[in-house]
């Protein structure tokens, strides 16, 4: 297993967000976590990225290492786990190029960075046209492309994606997911959280269902898509 989460518990003050969840992601997989708003999906990704503290007893293992030994910037720089946060969170005061250069901050392999940037531009040619534009002036779809591009440049082993479909028109959403599939084919493992359960399950190979801080179901995507409970709760009957 590439990424193993055991008994992950997170609280915000007195409010318990995750009640000790456990799951795994294997190398090269696309795994999704679906669930309603407030179920704890984003919290799970933030805990893996070390943006928020976890409760004692939680264990996260990555590639045989204790991930909790690494601070947030080292999770990206040394473990190779990138994170496209909820709402994209681009640096809108910086240009497209500056956002991408910043994503490569911790990398020293100049040739590798150049290659990855070229790859981003070949997947999303629109970004190349906008290279010197401030990120804040991009359309929603272009911003999502830049957010994914940024994650591609910052780290290549695992990509954590928080609601990549949010705010995107259906056609653009297809484009983004197609690009993500290509990225996965080249070896990047993807862990995705989505409210759009149908989209997520069609895209991923396996899925987990998160309900108010507990994982209640897991399985292959097609099984979940056909599960009557999932259908009723998340796929609109």
């Amino acid at each position: 297993m590439l990424l193993t989460i055991e008994n992950l518990r997170v609280s915000y003050g007195n409010i318990k967000a995750l009640h000790g969840i456990s799951f795994q992601v294997d190398e090269g997989e696309i795994v999704c976590i679906i669930g309603a708003n407030g179920a704890g999906k984003s919290t799970t990704l933030r805990a893996i990225s070390r943006l928020i503290p976890v409760e004692p007893g939680s264990k996260i293992t990555f590639d045989g290492k204790n991930l909790l030994d690494y601070p947030a910037d080292k999770v990206v720089a040394e473990l190779g786990i990138s994170h496209v946060p909820e709402g994209r969170r681009l640096f809108e005061n910086l240009t497209v190029m500056e956002n991408l250069r910043l994503a490569a901050f911790a990398r020293k392999d100049t040739a590798g960075i150049a290659r990855d940037m070229e790859r981003v531009f070949s997947i999303f040619p629109r970004l190349k046209e906008r290279i010197n534009q401030k990120a804040g002036t991009l359309s929603g779809g272009e911003q999502q492309m830049l957010a994914v591009g940024r994650a591609l440049v910052s780290a290549r082993r695992v990509m954590l994606l928080d609601e990549p479909s949010m705010g995107l028109a259906p056609l653009l959403m297809m484009d983004v997911f197609k690009a993500l599939k290509d990225i996965n084919k080249e070896g990047t493992t993807i862990l995705l959280v989505e409210q759009n359960a149908r989209m997520a399950l069609q895209f991923a190979q396996r899925g987990y269902v998160l309900e108010t801080g507990n994982l209640v179901l897991e399985g292959k995507s097609e099984d979940l898509l056909n599960n009557p409970d999932v259908k009723k709760a998340y796929l609109g009957g």
């Binding site: 984003s42 933030r46 990225s49 070390r50 943006l51 928020i52 601070p71 947030a72 910037d73 080292k74 990206v76 720089a77 990138s82 994170h83 946060p85 909820e86 709402g87 969170r89 640096f91 809108e92 005061n93 910086l94 500056e98 250069r101 910043l102 994503a103 901050f105 911790a106 990398r107 804040g136 940024r150 910052s154 780290a155």
Partner: protein, 311 residues
Amino acid sequence: MAFFLQNLVNALQWGSFYALIAIGYSMVYGVLFLFNFAHGDIFMVGAYIGFFVSTGLLALASTGVVALPEGVTLALVLVLTLIISMILNSFVGMLVERIGYRPLRNAPRASAAITGLMIGIILETGNLAILGPQRRLFPDLIPTQTITVAGVSITNKKMLIVGISILLTVALHQFVQRSKWGMAMRAMAYDYVVVPLMGIPVNTVALMTFGLGSALAAAGGILYGTAYPVLDPNMGILFGWKAFVAAILGGRGSILGAGVAGFLLGFIEIFVATIFPSTMRNLIAFSIIMIILTFRPHGFFGEPYSARLRL
């Protein structure tokens, strides 16, 4: 006309000190959302470090180990004093960040602000306790030469002070706009929460921000010492407050803005003092600033920031 130009020259020098202090205020506010109210006292510490470094270097030179013509020796001492003191004072600033502010990174902003006030008082009284109450005389490193052009007398000191201030302001602006670390600072100014996701060590950026601001404050302190050679532990208080005003006037996080506003504040003060009785200087100067802020509440320039500063 000569009267105007003469005051302009004086105002440029006076504004230089404000500009150099305001930049540090503005950078820390921009990058870390923090009012570092100790910054005026960091300027004071920088002036004292400059005093000790220059006095030491002069003593070293007088032993005759290196025999250089007097003018060359003094110029060399000034340059070395600037460089060494800026480096030393940047460590003072980084220490303040590490000990005073980092533990309060996620605390309410008001707590961090009063921490700044307390650190300021500690620096003032600490200076008093260690060095005693007597004032120090900054050594005269630039023998004054006066050039008179069209009735306006300009001293070599003034030219040097203004020149170095502008040079440092432009250099820092370039660093922030072009370098990788400068880019990280601008990113933090916009949305510091997600900066670690780029693999950027936030603590290092914070230290660097404090270090650069404090280095410029040290340069301000030394240049101030060459123009007004009497140093005392409280010299940074009023200067600090006025530079803070200039930093806000310049716009959050904007280095050029802080520089421009620092010079503007110098102009206003000098011209008010030439027209009105000098006791009314601060009264009128700050009334003008209030009026400017009424119409430009965000200052002249300034980094935009994201409204979402939480996850």
